[in-house]
Symmetry: C2
Subunit: 218 residues, 2 copies
DNA sequence: AATCTATTCAATAAATTTATTGAATAGATT
DNA sequence: AATCTATTCAATAAATTTATTGAATAGATT
């Protein structure tokens, strides 16, 4: 093998893994799997893909060594192959926001963040938790909360929020969070809470980011 | 814009940047540009691409915001759009080596690293520099050395090494380095030096990695 | 003004990726 | 043993990516 053949093969092998990440559907799947393991059917449902199509994308991710499987009864659960996978997704997400302003604008506009709706950063939340009387609210589906959540957060899935408002105090500040910066649950929750007269804001990032940064989790 | 449309657009925008990175030729170009800026012709020559093909790949990288240009006389020089780009390439390289064992084996086998040829890590080199009497040898082309190099390293481009052996001491240990873990210059240099009876090893990573890790550079 | 030179553009064919459809499979459950 | 269920497979058409070729361009230099 000569030098050129070696380089072609080496860069091709490295690109294989990156190529597997470089697809919008697969990025969304990786982002979802950062919450924990999911069956093919749930992955398809959450990402609005057909089951066959989701399965095909999962094969690509598995072939690239980015996800692994575990079997429970009749179901196959897919999960990230390691922390490095989420870290790489996070790095690419941040690179994308940094180099491609359209990505950031899209998020800003969709979340119509006026001065009332500006999100709180992880550092700011950490400070508030130490200094003020706040409520940290996890609005993800209950099973995701149970797999891990921000320390002292309470769980009210966004779908149940309208019916469980009485559990929340009117006088304290409420910080809602969900899966990540592209997840809309927290934004929806804040909208509802503000309409009902609560003092609420959302965390910009999600639980996997919080955990990856080493902030206190349970 | 509904939730699904937003997600499709957001993940697509983020994937655009990753897609631009997820190609073997473009990864090689990014790796090269980590040494500094190069003209299209030099990039084509270094990567064994035709000039038109190299230009096309550079357009893709530029379109994704990963590289920028500066003009000098008749030439256009391409350069990385920021430190984040090299950091992302580094993260993807390490993810590739971690998740795809073939990539690592390829490098190991090509550099036929027997016990005599095991590379030195950056941390080991840093320690050796403090404790022992060693020579750090930069074997990249001279202009790349001049743009920046490991502190106290001397420059002998690998092409000139055979004719300049007398500049090196027979009694001290020599650590050669080059562009990165996929660059063969340092391996070639170590081979030659060992054949001529010198005590030589190569650094596993290259100068951009050394700099990114915050080790002393000039 | 004419020429040169580095780079990009445009057209094309081949290769690869993607989503869809319907069938196949493997492993429970009845 | 038959049935059910979650998932994968195989075939296909459409879309995208890639490398190649030769021409075009823009900005020096003569």
């Amino acid at each position: 093998m000569d030098k050129r053949e070696f380089k072609n093969k080496a860069y091709s092998e490295l690109a294989r893994v990156t190529k597997a990440l470089g697809n919008p559907r697969r990025m969304e799947i990786i982002d979802l799997l950062a919450q924990g393991s999911f069956s093919v059917e749930r992955i398809a449902e959450q990402t609005n893909l057909s089951v066959a199509n989701a399965s095909q994308h999962l094969q690509v991710l598995k072939g690239a060594g980015l996800v692994g499987i575990s079997k429970k009864g009749n179901f196959i659960f897919y999960e990230l192959a390691g922390e490095k996978v989420f870290e790489a997704w996070r790095a690419l997400r941040e690179l994308g926001f940094a180099q491609n302003p359209e990505a950031g604008n899209l998020v800003k506009n969709f979340f119509h963040s006026d001065s009332q709706r500006e999100p709180v950063t992880m550092e700011e939340l950490q400070q508030k938790m130490n200094q003020e009387d706040i409520v940290v609210l996890d609005v993800r589906p209950g099973e995701e909360y149970e797999r891990g959540h921000i320390k002292e957060a309470i769980s009210i899935p966004v779908k149940e929020l309208a019916g469980r408002l009485k559990a929340l105090p009117k006088n304290a500040e409420i910080i809602a969070y969900c899966r990540g910066p592209l997840c809309v649950y927290a934004d929806e929750a804040v909208k509802l809470l503000q309409e009902k007269g609560y003092n609420a804001k959302r965390l910009k990032e999600g639980f996997p980011d919080w955990k990856a940064m080493g902030f206190p989790a349970e």
